[in-house]
Symmetry: C2
Subunit: 123 residues, 2 copies
């Protein structure tokens, strides 16, 4: 596996569009570095750096086969993002949004204005 336990935050890892594109490529099938590089206008070295970051976030794993290093998608850590998102889903799924959250967690609380209609008229 990834020997360098640099522990990159998964949110940080997926922040870069190139890295997201790498993940999408690997979702189809595992690929050696050179094959991945051929999909981008940047140098092979740059792609390797992205792969290292993805590996440090445990989103990909690489194994050597002959002289090639094959990278494979390892989507597990994305569950962290999903969990994070699930907290906010309540805010766009039902309009009661924050009210509901507050009620369930805190009792009555002082509910100061909740995300409602932009009724403000400015000039």
């Amino acid at each position: 596996m990834s020997a360098s336990a640099e522990k990159v935050d998964v949110f940080q890892a997926i922040a870069d569009p190139t890295r997201r594109e790498v993940l999408r490529l690997l979702a189809e099938k595992e690929l050696p570095i050179s094959a991945i590089t051929s999909h981008f206008p940047i140098s092979r070295t740059a792609v390797v750096k992205h792969l290292h970051i993805l590996a440090d976030a445990d989103l990909v794993t690489g194994h050597k086969v002959g002289r090639e290093k094959i990278y494979r998608l390892h989507p597990g850590p994305l569950t962290e993002v999903k969990q994070w998102l699930s907290f906010y889903e309540q805010f766009w799924n039902n309009k009661l949004s924050m009210l509901k959250h507050l009620v369930e967690t805190d009792g009555d609380t002082a509910l100061t204005v909740v995300q409602s209609e932009p009724d403000q008229k400015r000039k």
Copy 2:
């Protein structure tokens, strides 16, 4: 930065832990800048920069009330992240993962692939 619509990528916006914490705070209730700042060890100026980035990603909105600027959560753009994630859920839900994906890409999966690729022939 910038004050105008710089159109910050939502993935980029949520990459920073401080900004995620700001979102969590605003999920409870809308807050003025000073109240937000009091939750962090960093300067008010730094917090404002984070707020600008979040606003450029359309994840928060700010409106002035008297001398205060009140920031409010606007979770809509997070749907983009959710859609992106939904593509990968199939890979951790069933272990057949990529194989299955390739085989039944025309079924009911309704994968909302965000970007199309310059599709290369594979046999």
